[in-house]
Amino acid sequence: MKKNRRPFGKILMILAIAFFYLPILYMIVFSFNEGKSLTSFTGFSLRWYQHMMESSDMMTALYTTFSVAIIATLVSTVVGTVAAIGLSSSRKIVRNIMEQVNNLPMMNPEIVTAIGFMLLFITFNVEKGYMTMLLAHIAFCIPYVMLSVMPKIRSLDPNLADAAMDLGATPFRALTKVIVPQITPGILSGALIAFTMSVDDFIISYFVTGRGVKNLSIVVYTMSKRVNPSINAVSTLVVVIITIVLIVINVAPVLAARRSRKAELGRRRRFVPAVAVCCALVIGLFAFRAGGGAGGDRPFEGQTLHIYNWGEYTGENIIGDFEEETGATVVMENFDSNEQMYIKVANGESYDILVPSDYMIQRLIQEDYLQKLDKSKLDCFDKLSDEVLGLPYDPNNDYSVPYFWGTVGIVYDKTKVDIEDLEQEGYNIFLDEKYKGDVYLYDSERDSFMMALKALGYSMNTENEAELQEAYDWLVQCVETMDTEIVTDEIIDNMAQGRKALGLIYSGDATYVMAENEDMGYYMPETGTNLWSDAMVIPKNAKNPDLAHAFINFASDYDGAYDNSSYVGYTSANQEVMEVLSGEGGDYEGINAYIPRADNENDEVFVYNESTKKIISDLWSRVKIAASNAD
């Protein structure tokens, strides 16, 4: 219309596109980064691609994302079109009511729809997993298909079908030969919307999934706290797939048209290659999944082990090695707090192995969710450190086998923090305005209260409400005067980059930070700390306890434990691994955080107490609200 007369518009357009593509570009670049950091590019490497290919978790998620999207698109397109045709010939009142009903998932906040589905499946005892995710996707996709098909039907001549049938066509033929071809553009755009919604969905999938079934969004959400550049590699792969699909959709019809010398390309011509590409992808993914499973007489061939573990808490190779040795498939689901895990278990979701912390194990035992271990199947106890066995939460280790253990302490930048301040003030350094704006708190209710209680000289297991209230005031003072940031696993990358001077941290994370950055130190105040341990347990409703026992042995054995500990940084429960890693030439030589302190009488192990826990959870959420209002 008006060429070259809109420089302002052009600049704006370029800026908009730059804005949209900047993060995508950034992600692609950093997928080739050698190091783990998200901010500094240290060199070119394909390490994260290799990691991604080896991680069955991510490849499965990719498969789940696309297979759910494709099936949901196909089903919802067919069902939605048929329903729309049906409704258009129904009575007006039915039509209006259904229009309102279809508006429910579109006009409600997505999280409300998601919770509705979740409650539905739980109320009717449908086991959450792939099927529930697929059903939910179909359910929220159909209204979008109908929304785009309906106007096309309305614009049809209502006598069209009747005319066809008067001329002798059966109703089915009238439908497929007359009506559907007329509304094809509406059907196609409906299908496209459905596919987009499904591929990109996070909230609904997150609430209706179970048994370790994850799509890409859920993988990103559950592991994004700890930097794992494999996410960038997966995303780059998705970008590549989508680019190929788009090119095929847009280029193939052009080529076909050129060959057949037709000037006009119908939209249907675009659809055929699109479907072909999608099918090829699904088949490819299936082939990928089926491949690599050819084995002889391994003990657990074809069986599945469901593990529910902390995010980023296993080594790079242990799962693959275990699958190789036993022939079983491991499905790993991650949590980021004990409470999150507890709710799933209490709602009857079934796992074979859980890895909760001390106080939570005590709670699970008390509430009868765990089964006793069959010690005749376990050969690992004599390999474990004495310090982690026979702890008060499970005095005879009837239920649990320790996995990692450690302490909680202060990670500090030696170049910014005076060690004398730390020694004098202990945890009260978190109230020292000298370090204002330079402090991380950790988003864990029990460890934040541990810090406050220990700073005040109380027991971290106190049941005294006045002491808890005092601890609460201490924390509020901290967040209000110190300009703190409350983080979770982001602290690892951030401290490794030296971004703040101080932070409350788990010893294993401190180990990792110190291995990455020499300026960092780890200090445990004399007033005491939390001596924690996370251990493997088998729930009562486990479907494969035999395989679970085999995994416990495998993870406690030297090779498995070494892989875990050297990759994650947490202290291994395996005595030999701990000695090798902290000894001469070990990964963690000279890092004090790796060896938990054993000689301070103020150190404690957490004890579970229901009413105290409730008070602490409530107070902690108020501390966080105070922090967000302090900004």
């Binding site: 809109r6 998200l38 998932p105 919770i115 509705g116 409650l119 069209l160």
Partner: protein, 280 residues
């Protein structure tokens, strides 16, 4: 066409089961005494009372609404000119530009948001660039600004595409007519273009506001642990606290607020169209 009406029956059954029943369940849970079984239903209003009597919860609700309004306004201001530019390009260019806006939506939302963490964090590219201009120590990540940015980034395409659709349907000879009749460009925009694009604007506002108000992963990824919005509160109740009844009550409150707001927005639209009709 009447013979096809039976085709709708299976879907009506499905919709009752998969769309209506879940909402009914949320409502039931929200009026139920604590405990997660609907068999032993006993009515209570305590969850609603708990929400409305606690200033902290109300503050979170208020903050969520405010940030969603801010997001919507920014998206409208940024999105409108972009949509206008696209709508007035030649058709071929238009298709390419629309594709450019759509492609990012096909790449996972979380992944794209995640990339912003690297961009915004301390020592990241953006901070280093700002450093060149002497603003090196501005905190970017884990602030309200970063949450706002994440929301605008994720939801802006919805706004652009909606406005573009309704602008491209417009008859541009109207603009010439308006100019011929002596209207200034500003007047033309105010009296002709904008009213005609209003349906798109309204749809865009809906599509941006709705997800913005309930988003919980954007505040969680870009806002850090201390940035709490109503979506995070609901997630927390269901995933880590386990008080489903209270969580359901918050969901109901949110659904009702949204419904009222949407009805109000639709009213504006109908009112405006009615007004135009009279003048014409």
């Amino acid at each position: 066409m009447k013979r096809f009406s039976t085709l709708a029956v299976p879907y009506i059954v499905w919709a009752a089961l998969m769309l209506v029943l879940p909402m009914a369940l949320i409502a039931m849970y929200s009026f139920m005494e604590p405990g997660n079984s609907i068999i032993s239903f006993s009515f209570t209003l305590e969850h609603y009372v708990k929400f409305f009597t606690d200033p902290d919860f109300l503050l979170i609700l208020w903050r969520s609404l405010v940030i969603a309004v801010k997001t919507t306004i920014i998206c409208l201001i940024l999105g409108y000119p972009v949509a206008y530019f696209i709508a007035r390009s030649r058709e071929k260019v238009q298709n390419i530009l629309i594709l450019c806006i759509t492609i990012p939506m096909w790449i996972n939302m979380l992944v794209r948001t995640y990339a912003w963490i690297g961009l915004l964090s301390e020592g990241g590219i953006i901070q280093r660039i700002l450093g060149l201009f002497g603003f090196g120590d501005v905190e970017l990540l884990y602030t309200e600004g970063s949450v706002l940015l994440g929301m605008v980034y994720n939801f802006l395409p919805f706004m652009i595409l909606q406005i573009q659709t309704s602008l491209s349907k417009m008859d541009y000879s109207l603009l010439e007519a308006s100019a011929d009749l002596g209207a200034s460009p500003v007047q033309t925009f105010r009296r002709v273009t904008f009213p005609l694009s209003l349906p798109g604007v309204i749809n865009g506002i809906t599509l941006v506001f709705l997800p913005a108000v309930s988003s919980f992963f954007i505040p969680k990824l870009l806002g850090g642990g201390q940035y709490f919005l109503i979506g995070n509160m609901i997630e927390n109740q269901f995933i880590t606290v386990g008080e489903w009844n209270f969580g359901s009550a918050i969901s109901m409150i949110m659904a009702v607020i949204m419904m009222l707001l949407m009805m109000a927005v639709r009213k504006i639209e109908i009112h405006n169209q009615g007004g135009k009709g009279e003048r014409a």
